[in-house]
Amino acid sequence: MNILLYGLVTGILFGFLMQKAHVIRYDKQLGALMLKDFTIVKFMISSVIVSMIGIYLLSDLGYIKLDIKSASLGANLIGGLIFGVGWGFVGYCPATAVAAVGEGRWDATFGLAGMLVGAAVYAEAFPLLKESVLAWGNMGKITLHGILGINHWIVIAVLTALFTGMFAWFEKRNL
């Protein structure tokens, strides 16, 4: 029971932050896809920087364990492309579509209904995909520092510097 309560509270806080940052708006998500307004990228990448540092710090100290997902070229590339096409039409990703309903964006409810249908369709197609796309270019649980054979803090430092540079560029260009 406790774990469900943790989920609810974490979700409420996350939804609160997304609403305040304006990232659950169709206009902002399309703005990023049209390379005109990078609000959602600022939110996502800020979150990535902080959590990347926090997660690796806690992992190094032995408090938590990492949960690295397998990389599969076929699944990630083809799935990503299909996702992108759908995203352009819906204008919300799954989590933001749910949160968008919370601030009165009724079009998101239709996006959500479609997403449920999409999940059911995927369940039907899964046996076929398992033998094909999902098996193509499966590289297992890889990491950047693992491939490069360097300490993870080097990757974290370089990425943080690159992301900060990107933010500075966004602000300079008023994006």
Binding site: F43, G86, F89, D107, Y122
Partner: protein, 132 residues
């Protein structure tokens, strides 16, 4: 109170706070953020009503059982959090068609809602394939 009722927070600040929330979540409950698995569980839940045997026979629903778990509550909490934030900031607004869409495609609701629905099908199929 004044900060909480402000309608707009810097995306950098809000994003950084979301990052801290994620780290705290992993530390306290061992859970990383995600949403799309919840759509599989919910789709299975709904499909169970109409075709329980079909759901039982599909490997994907056996692997991702229809149930309410941490992530389901997280996603649902996102709706509540957004509702609370928009109410506090007097930012809640009934919006059947997004402004940007309206300037480009007009105010027709059916057109927008149909597009969102069909796009949702494609999006979720891609998301599940990519593993997200």
């Amino acid at each position: 109170m004044s900060v909480l009722s402000r309608t707009s927070w810097s995306p950098y600040v809000a994003g950084a706070l979301a990052g801290m929330l994620l780290v705290l979540s992993v530390l306290v409950s061992g859970k990383y953020f995600g949403a799309s698995t919840t759509f599989v569980r919910s789709a299975g839940y709904i499909e169970q009503v109409f075709a329980p045997d079909r759901v039982k026979s599909l490997e994907y629903f056996v692997k991702t059982t229809p149930k309410i778990d941490w992530q389901w509550m997280f996603v649902f909490g996102g709706l509540l959090g957004s509702l609370i934030a928009s109410r506090m900031g007097r930012d809640f607004k009934s919006t059947p068609v997004p402004p940007l869409w309206e300037t480009r495609f007009g105010p027709n609701r059916i057109k927008r809602w149909t597009t969102a629905f069909l796009g949702g099908i494609v999006l979720m199929f891609g998301a599940r394939l990519a593993g997200g």
